[in-house]
Symmetry: C2
Subunit: 333 residues, 2 copies
DNA sequence: TATTGGTTAGTAACCGCTTGCAAAAAGAGT
DNA sequence: ACTCTTTTTGCAAGCGGTTACTAACCAATA
């Protein structure tokens, strides 16, 4: 008893109207007499008709689907952003095709083309930085794109961010205010833009403002997660660093645990701030003071922005900067 | 200069062949002479032709897209599963439409219908339990479904799991072996199947085997994350519990921190095991002994299973049980 | 040379829906 | 009753592919 899929034809026949009318009813077009509409709705319900979204997409050139590009699936930072996106997407009846792109592998072009071939109505790109490949792919197309929590120096694409420079600067300044003399910065790769142009610059600025000299060796690159953080602490200590701002929370957790294991007193002798406020910062003891980015909101606002672009509404502002705060916990005074 | 989308017609015209031939080339059909194929491929490259996946889907009734249903996006447990799924999906060229379903809201039916209307080739359902709504929706359809880390007492649908009962039992037994006298179980809701039929039963069994009495009050329901875990510790202590198995890792983290703050010595006076081995269990001090479910593998195997079902291959086994281990950390002896 | 059979390529129907256009129906006005 | 509008409805042409069927081609075999 293979169940036949019910099509718009079946409904039309059963309701004794044309498929055009059924289509109008389904799409809420008002040019339908009330009793006709009711008749059609009754049949739709009776047959349990469900429009085929693919056929619809082909005919209307709208898929009610958006693409989401993330660097890693199993990372709370992006999960939190995704949640904001998902909630708004649901509200506007969009589905989300999620694709993870390990930028080290050269699959970005392919992934973006794949999304476009599925006729997504828009794409949200989340990473720390907009890669050249992605930029070019986006510029070649008229599909709307939004960058969420992603730095783009050209500002060609709409984006939603916080002021990364201000955040880092405030963090470093607070170290100095607490009497620390030798702050450091631990980040992923120093050559990606969000780090080079924003974080490192902010770090320099904070030092300069305080009359301190900047030294390249105070920038530590680390991409190796918790273990990496744990290991980098030794270097930090060897170099006399007494306070550190770490971009990724798991790395920060590694640093804190290493300090704890080395009997270094936090925050008295060593302070830590993390740039992503996930639950890890809160759970670990000592808990970690974090730059509290409104991740959920960044996601939600990005998605809202995307819906506006899809509907070709006027954008008040294509580069939205959301406020951040610093959540004080035990790892700073 | 609105760029026209290149269609198969354009390629056909340019290559002076019919669209059928282009289609064959694109789909790797071998009934094409080599020089014809090359000519077509050259044009495809030159025009940068990208087949429209929607049109393709309509004509072929395959979308090369699968649906993924998760309870929460921002939960490391599901993220880890998703990663396994994603990697295999990528390998087989499937895209993933991810949808989160808060089961408390009654949107499950709608979500599943939405996925089906998009003509997904298959669906992976991840939750702790297969809801009745989902079961019915799945049974009405011939779209392949796989349950990943999800209990289904009827075993009507293919699934990939670990042996939850054995895992819990082993955990509780280890408490007793360590000399603990009063173990407890903290879980989400006691009435969902994975808990009632598996975890609670295993808890009872372990006690019975050790000649201890089971008491309903040793089952604690808690769905409130870290804070909830923190609060439940007080009750545990008041009731004389000396060891606890907690299903969610953040809840376990709450318990551990509460114990720490209450100066209760772990593991000497209080032992904790978590049923999900995410990074949180590893980072927290004392680190938490965890049932190490092969989450990534569960995801990967589920996806592989789904591809087999999609291709109508014979299934050796529709209910796969993967091995688990217990990762000993500081929260147990 | 006629027959056969395997390749290669084209024709056109179809997938299920949207939508512009025009016809039919229903009101309105005189 | 008749014309002029305004609404409601149907027709049919796509949307961009896949694929069954058929025809053309070509070499091999009888």
């Amino acid at each position: 008893m293979e169940k036949q899929e019910i099509t718009i034809y079946d409904v039309a026949r059963e309701a004794q109207v044309s498929m055009a009318t059924v289509s109008r009813v389904v799409n809420g077009n008002k040019n339908v007499r009330d009793d006709t509409r009711n008749k059609v709705l009754e049949v739709i319900k009776r047959l349990n008709y469900q429009p085929n979204a693919v056929a619809r997409g082909l005919a209307s050139k709208k898929s009610t689907t958006i693409g989401l590009i993330v660097p890693e699936l199993n990372n709370l930072y992006f999960s939190e952003l995704s949640k904001g996106i998902d909630d708004i997407a649901t509200m506007y009846k969009y589905n989300i095709i999620i694709t993870s792109v390990d930028t080290s592998v050269n699959r970005e072009e392919e992934v973006i083309q794949g999304l476009l071939s599925k006729q997504v109505d828009g794409v949200i790109y989340m990473a720390n930085e907009l890669s050249e490949i992605a930029r070019k792919a986006f510029e070649r197309n008229r599909t709307p794109f939004v960058l969420a929590g992603t730095v783009d120096h050209d500002k060609t694409l709409p984006s939603v961010n916080i002021d990364y420079q201000a955040a880092i600067k405030q963090g470093i300044t607070s170290f100095l205010a607490d009497g620390k003399k030798h702050p450091a910065l631990v980040l992923g790769r120093a050559d990606v833009e969000i780090n080079a142009a924003h974080r490192i610059k902010a770090f320099k600025d904070a030092l300069t403002d305080a009359g301190l000299a900047f030294n390249d060796s105070d920038i530590y690159e680390n991409n190796f997660g918790y273990e990496g953080g744990y290991q980098v602490f030794e270097k930090l200590q060897a170099n006399g660093v007494d306070s550190v701002l770490v971009t990724r929370d798991v790395v920060a957790a590694g640093v804190v645990n290493a300090a704890f294991d080395a009997n270094v007193k936090i925050p008295e002798d060593f302070e830590v701030i993390s740039a992503s406020n996930t639950i890890i910062s809160k759970i670990i003891r000592p808990s970690i003071t974090s730059i509290k980015q409104p991740l959920y909101d960044i996601g939600a606002v990005s998605m809202r922005l995307l819906t506006k672009m899809i509907n070709r509404e006027e954008l008040d502002e294509a580069h939205i900067v959301l406020p951040f705060t610093i959540e004080n916990r035990q790892s700073t005074k």
